[in-house]
Homo-oligomer: 344 residues x 4
């Protein structure tokens, strides 16, 4: 399993060593469960500080699909749905987790994986203009991801514009930050954690894909918006008995700016890889500034490549070509990039 | 947090050191996700061997409520409910996780936390005798826990009798083994893993409360009974991206009989504690052979006790007394028991 | 089908002739749909007047199970359940319609089919005293039926006492009036429509079992408590395109006190039947003042009876006896009672 | 309410007089409930004959949204979704009734309101080619409507082609016949009831929009495909206590070919209206052969029109024009068409 290069995704290794060390140091200490322990509390405080919102509710869940299902269920009433890009993770790759709790995903067209404030505004306007809208699923919140599923970024201005439309229609804005480290660590990004906290009613800071064993940290700047969240988490089967295991991972990630540094490592590696690919004349399927790179590869070459390195199948391009994804991660080393480059 | 004795539960520490070591050793190896990695596969194979069922499907989930919700949803059709003791975990302490997926919990009276084959048989007979049963939720499976929520055990004979009734009515039997190590490590127990595998259509081997950081291993001896389980797990938000983190914990637990040994450690400590309590004249609220001990304590004494050691509130006994639970765990040391005894 | 007496239930005939006449008179008039028509509006106004609450929201649904599912879903948040008697219709005979929308039915013991304010208070107190209550389904509303499934009645005082507990815990009280005409037309009843409207956050006035072809009229005295009810009704598949068909039936039923008169007819017949049964020495399984009568019959006699008249099986009494239910209805004539009496 | 012409929809009047007569004739007869009565049985038998499938299960439900929700829930397993045109009724105008029971609607592009066998085939192929499809909602059945929401028709050949793809992928084909009379009564239609029964795993024959007070008749040619349908209907709150009221309406509609004749009346009126509109130079937004006509009207003229006749708003065409829908029905008379024509 160690003999082959893999750029298939960013969740292929264990965790950053600081996390393992923290687990080992605290292992035999007894603490209370369900996130009421002091490690989780310390992590919460560090995250609140990083986000610049002292009163925020912070909860640690296990994975991204789970977190989306919990938070969307927490914000929506039974007759409401969630607006998302047609390529949003909740629209496509969560096996109906949102619908399982009774909510429709209302899709908008995307551009580079993003929805625009204009298209959101138009959707909402058209919805309320329709005389029959009471026969339809009411748009109850907006879901975006940062970076998007296509590795692209919302600018701060775009987030603020989406925010303005949400405020106008009084619906919450929720941001899926499964790969947030790779936005925060990216030079092209201008929306920091406190900007996100200012624009969103809730968001999560991804751990699983950003150097943790698992775990996502939900942040709700105004906790009054999600009453009974603890019980909702339990109802979704998402409450960790040993909540501390998630808490102390985020404690480590939010000590001395580790989370953002992990992002930077991945971006540096991705930038190097992009340069090499560009030199070799590869065509990029999307232009991305973050850790995911999408290239078009001729099918014959792909077989050769597959023999030496793992990648992620994205989609068919045409009969002779395929789009693949290469992802760097929080621990990508120069040598790995160079080894891949040699193969490519 | 380390200065006070705690017997509040069995999920208060981290994990057995062998698990941490395994995590550390494999940390930087890249593997594929979602449980398709070689560590998970190795763990599956060890569990199949321990259960004596080569063809079993084994999946690793995160927690008990989640596992129950997933498996009950996997077995039931939309119009069916699950039969459980009125004190079953799914009946009381899972925040409606079963109902959230549309299924009713059909409760039977319990004795010592258990349902009997007789009462099950009678329930099913009465149900089908009722001319209006098509207007009611159809009993679609049976849920039991071993040990029960009261720390008691089903004998092998009792399991076989339940099995016989289930076969007669063609409904699956499912066993929640959140604390299964404390049954397997208990001298009073006569139902081993292979007995359970022979009696049940599905069961889970608990990790969270038995020495893992988290994790429960679902075993389905005949996999054809739960089509699309992978997608159902994903739909429940229960699919770990880094499935290996759960898998390698069970690999450690099922190496050299560790899982059962952890159970024995807890039972030895509990037996010692039971003796000491009996000597001191404490009244036992339930008679239990496993790691949970329920005693009646006078309220004044309880306050003193609470100042020095943590316990778990169970219920009011009368105006002057309270029932509390004391639980030993996989790492309980003699000194802890003696220290608690000194306080009691 | 006309040759055999039937006392199996109160929904065995069509509708009161005034309803058929109204349908015929208005048949070819075109009106708008979904309850926005003038007939429905007229019926709403008459019901508001009968209930003494001018501002009430009144909606017409089709059947009782549907109405319960819609209204319980409208009041509860996703993590909440509904408290009901263990014998409540939603607890037993609605095929899991409440659970299908994700809500648990939390059962209380019953006496004569009723729950008491004392047991409700105790349940709620115990719930909130439990340190783990955030792991459990939160009680979000109370369901009662009037008359109950056992044909018994809540007194006005009992309703007011339940109301007081609900107010204390800030949870709504909902009343299922599937057979409300048979309460309103009963001399033993002291809770009129305006009393019910004063005590309950919502209730429904049953049509199906009280002389309509179908239909239940939901009344919500303070409409702000159920936002988006129209959409919720649609989501449940409960919105009639030709809403007028339900509306004009209630228009007829609430013209010149017809609804209460229909109740009186059934009660008079039931009283006569009760007297005759008492004279003949039958044992009553429940003491009921309304249109449902429960008697214990020796199994041999039951076969003879069944050959000549239809009844409703209730439950086994002992090996030699069965409990059956006899129900009169809004059109029961003296001759039918006498004919039944002759057989009995 | 009678003084204004209305072509807003086809559910604006009561029922065909034969239905009212049947209701009146049978009114005081007592029958058993829940569709077990002889009237429903007679209607079932007539429908089976009309469809040429003796063994079919036939159930009578109340409305279209309800019927779709029940049948889709009956066919799908929890992890599956239903494929539909993006303009299908279940995709847009059912307030999330499908999602409320946990199922995603998977949308395909439409042409004239229809999905093609080609696009279905391509969707399914692409789905199963995707290596990650187990992370997605599995396509579990196909939903179409006849006539479509745009008043267009599937030809028999198109139905057979869809059928072939469904057979290849072993997923059922379900047809929503809310306006089926207007297909059956249309000269352009070549798919009769027995063709539909041969192509579909289930379909419903619409009553509400085709001359009944309410009611839809579900037909399942092979009943083994939907076990426990009765209980599912109950669970959805869709079981009529007085099932006979629905049954005898269909008995009337399927006596002497009434159902098809009602369709012909509407089509004749629509054809006359289409001719008149064409003469006057109106632009048709869709080309439709059935009872729904979609025209583009200049906004100034629309106001005049609205003062004299009711129509249905469809959508904005451009800043100066609007698309409206005019619908004839089972009782449309020549004079109504001429009166409308005079206004237009």
């Amino acid at each position: 399993m160690a003999d082959k290069l893999s750029f298939a995704s960013d969740y292929l290794r264990g965790a950053h060593p600081a996390i393992l060390q923290k687990l080992a140091e605290t292992n035999m200490i007894k603490t209370s469960g369900y996130g009421t322990d002091p490690f989780s509390e310390a992590a919460r405080q560090k995250i609140r500080e990083a986000c610049g919102c002292e009163g925020a509710l912070v909860e640690f869940l296990v994975g991204g699909t789970q977190t989306n299902a919990v938070m969307i269920d927490a914000f929506l009433r039974s007759w409401q749905g969630v607006i998302a890009a047609e390529t949003g993770h909740i629209s496509t790759h969560e096996a109906g987790a949102i619908e399982a709790f009774g909510h429709k995903v209302l899709t908008l067209p995307q551009e580079a994986g993003k929805i625009s404030a204009e298209s959101l505004q138009q959707y909402l306007e058209t919805f309320y203009e329709d005389e029959n809208h009471a026969h339809m699923v009411a748009p109850g919140m907006v879901y975006i991801s940062q970076p998007t599923e296509f590795g692209t970024l919302y600018s701060l201005r775009e987030l603020q514009e989406l925010r303005a439309v949400c405020l106008q229609y009084r619906i919450p804005l929720y941001l899926d930050g499964a790969r947030l480290a790779y936005a925060l660590g990216c030079p092209a990004n201008d929306a920091g954690l406190s900007d996100i906290a200012a624009c969103c009613d809730a968001f999560y800071i991804g751990g699983t894909k950003c150097g943790a064993l698992f775990g996502e940290a939900v942040v709700v700047p105004d906790p009054t918006k999600v009453p009974a969240l603890f019980t909702i988490i339990k109802q979704h089967g998402a409450l960790l008995a040993k909540g501390r295991i998630a808490g102390l991972q985020f404690d480590a990630l939010f000590t001395d700016g580790l989370y953002e540094r992990l992002g930077k490592t991945a971006i540096a590696a991705a930038d190097r890889l992009r340069s090499l690919l560009r030199e070799k004349g590869y065509r990029f399927f999307y232009e991305t500034p973050t850790n995911q790179i999408f290239i078009v590869v001729e099918n014959g070459r792909l077989q050769e490549l597959g023999a030496q390195a793992e990648y992620s199948y994205w989609q068919k391009y045409d009969d002779a070509h395929t789009v693949i994804r290469l992802a760097t991660d929080w621990a990508s080393a120069e040598e790995e990039i160079d080894a891949l480059s040699a193969i490519l």
